[in-house]
């Protein structure tokens, strides 16, 4: 008789005791093990006899009062602290777990592909949107693609493509009326106390929204939130890069309330873009989109440190971390962002002097410090 069967026999006997069998009748099933099992079963009965069954109602009530009191104190403490200090991003497991999860998925997929030499699952996942079962495959595959692109220029191009993909996915979610958690990066295009526009998407700011870093218009931010009725309820916002002056292309986003076909506002024809000077073609296309806000956008400034090709890869209006500024182009960058849902677009087309004193009160001014990249 192996030990394994002894352990199994004990479990069987314990289940029989639970059903109300007597110790001896249980042991009759295992005559060879009876002597060994008997004291064990008697101990089990002893352990069970002391089981706590009654919980006085007042005990539960007192305990609950104490816990709720502690919660109230924590709430008060949280309110008295700046929000960013409450839950630092690097201490939150949730925020990055999605990325680790995706990488784990994609790593295992890589092995599968190497073994079988195909991409069927990835193809199947290409139309997935957040909440779909294959969505992690899609995002994981994107991570893998990025990890294996070593040319910085191509990498930026690919990132831009994926950024566009995020916007399209979210718009699909809107169309389907689905509430799903979304996670993307984008540029803050306007800020009001309750709503920000990030990459053309309206992001609702609530009391529960957690902020990491001082985010101003033109900041590159990471957003974790949930789609809800044509907007995103922000749960967490994290600064990735502060705004910096560079000859932006044209901010091509449209506030969702102004234009229907936002999802196609950014040209997907990469080759067409790359031949044009920064933002040139795009600006034209945007004008055709019929946005009123676009009128306020100044033309791109010559003398950029970025090559035309590089500039065309940037999401329009996206300050990429690490790109260099030239001092005379700073003014253009500052002015580049019009305000959705607000007026005075004409006043923003001016020079740098007007830029930091934007006429919209609710907008934060953007001092444009030296580019600083926030650790991811």
């Amino acid at each position: 008789m192996t030990s394994e069967t002894l352990f199994d026999a004990l479990e069987t006997c314990l289940e029989a005791l639970d059903r109300g069998d007597a110790v001896e009748s249980c042991l009759m099933r295992y005559p060879a093990l009876a002597e060994e099992l008997r004291p064990i079963l008697i101990s089990a009965l002893e352990a069970r006899r002391a089981a706590v069954t009654e919980i006085p109602a007042e005990v539960a009530a007192r305990g609950k009062a104490r816990v709720l009191q502690a919660a109230a104190e924590m709430r008060a403490e949280r309110q008295s602290q700046p929000k960013a200090a409450v839950l630092p991003f690097w201490r939150q497991k949730n925020f990055f777990s999605a990325r680790f999860y995706r990488l784990a998925v994609s790593a295992s997929l890589m092995v599968a592909f190497l073994l079988t030499g195909g991409t069927g699952l990835v193809n199947a996942s290409s139309g997935a949107i957040p909440g779909d079962q294959l969505y992690p495959v899609k995002r994981g595959w994107e991570d893998v693609q990025l990890a294996f692109v070593f040319n910085p220029q191509h990498k930026v191009e690919l990132e831009h493509k994926f950024d566009q993909e995020r916007v399209q996915e979210i718009e699909e979610l809107y169309t389907e009326g689905r509430m799903e958690q979304v996670h993307f990066q984008g540029v803050v295009q306007s800020q009001t106390p309750k709503f920000w526009v990030i990459d053309g998407l309206q992001v609702a700011i609530g009391e529960e929204t957690l902020f990491q870093g001082e985010m101003t218009v033109n900041s590159l931010v990471e957003v974790l939130g949930e789609t809800d009725d044509g907007r995103i309820k922000a749960e967490q916002l994290r600064l990735l890069a502060t705004p910096q002056a560079y000859p932006t292309g044209t901010p091509t986003w449209l506030p969702p309330t102004l234009a229907a076909p936002e999802s196609t506002h950014e040209s997907e024809d990469q080759s067409g873009e790359s031949k044009a000077p920064a933002g040139g073609d795009q600006e034209k296309q945007d004008g055709e989109d019929g946005s009123e806000g676009i009128k306020s956008i100044p033309p791109p400034t010559p003398g950029s440190d970025l090559s035309d090709d590089q500039a065309s890869f940037l999401p329009t209006g996206t300050p990429r971390p690490g790109s260099k500024d030239s001092s005379d182009s700073e003014s253009e960058g500052v002015n580049a962002i019009p305000v959705p849902g607000t007026q005075t677009s004409g006043s923003q087309t001016g020079s740098s002097e007007h830029s930091s004193s934007s006429s919209e009160e609710e907008h934060h001014s953007t001092p444009y410090p030296e580019p600083t990249k926030v650790e991811k």
Binding site: L10, A50, A51, A60, G63, A71, Q92, G120
Partner: protein, 197 residues
């Protein structure tokens, strides 16, 4: 074709993680320190936590304090981002086990006294209650000689009444490991009880 046939089981696999668990919703409420969410969570888990603590301490007022302390610690952990991501019940019971162990350790540091003459009359019913108390006291002393895991498995299986599989999930072990552990725990308990006067 291979991929098509793979898609379904794999997607099921993903859906296991992607579908929000009831516990995840509870944890969201906790993060906001929402009184209703906390209240609901407390009502759901307090009985189990209290029974778990009371089994080992055999002191209702102390068990009451420690059981509510488990929930206060949960709030603190969730607030600072160190809270459980899954298996909330497992987290609560493991925390309860730590608190109980600490409490017992402190008790042992103090000079131990047997049941005093002036023991408060919690539930009048003379000889029978004394016997019950004495039996529980012996069991607790015997349990205290076991390892942490052995104490834990006995509490989960024989006090809480969890099945083998539930216990395995809560202890993050497989069922066979729990079978072995409970065997050794009961054998050790039997020896400890036998050595007592």
């Amino acid at each position: 074709m291979v991929y098509l046939s793979l898609t379904k089981p794999l997607s099921n696999l993903f859906s296991l993680r992607l579908m929000p668990l009831p516990e995840e919703n509870e944890l969201e409420g906790l993060q906001r320190l929402d009184p209703q969410a906390i209240s609901a969570l407390y009502d759901r888990y307090f009985p189990e936590v209290y029974r778990f603590v009371c089994y080992r301490l055999n002191d209702e007022s102390l068990a009451e304090d420690l059981a509510s302390e488990v929930f206060v610690r949960l709030l603190g952990a969730v607030k600072s981002g160190r809270g459980p991501q899954t298996n909330l019940k497992g987290w609560l019971l493991a925390t309860a086990a730590h608190l109980v162990t600490d409490q017992i350790r402190q008790t042992y540091r103090r000079p131990e006294s047997d049941l005093p003459e002036t023991l408060p009359d919690v539930a009048p019913g003379p000889a029978q209650d004394y016997e019950k108390l004495e039996r529980e006291r012996r069991l607790n002393k015997a349990l205290a000689t076991l390892t942490g895991d052995q104490q834990y498995v006995i509490n989960l299986r024989f006090n809480q009444g969890y099945s083998l599989d539930e216990t395995a999930v809560l202890m993050k072990k497989n069922a066979n490991a729990v079978k072995q552990l409970q065997f050794r725990a009961l054998a050790a308990l039997n020896r400890a009880l036998g050595e007592m006067p």
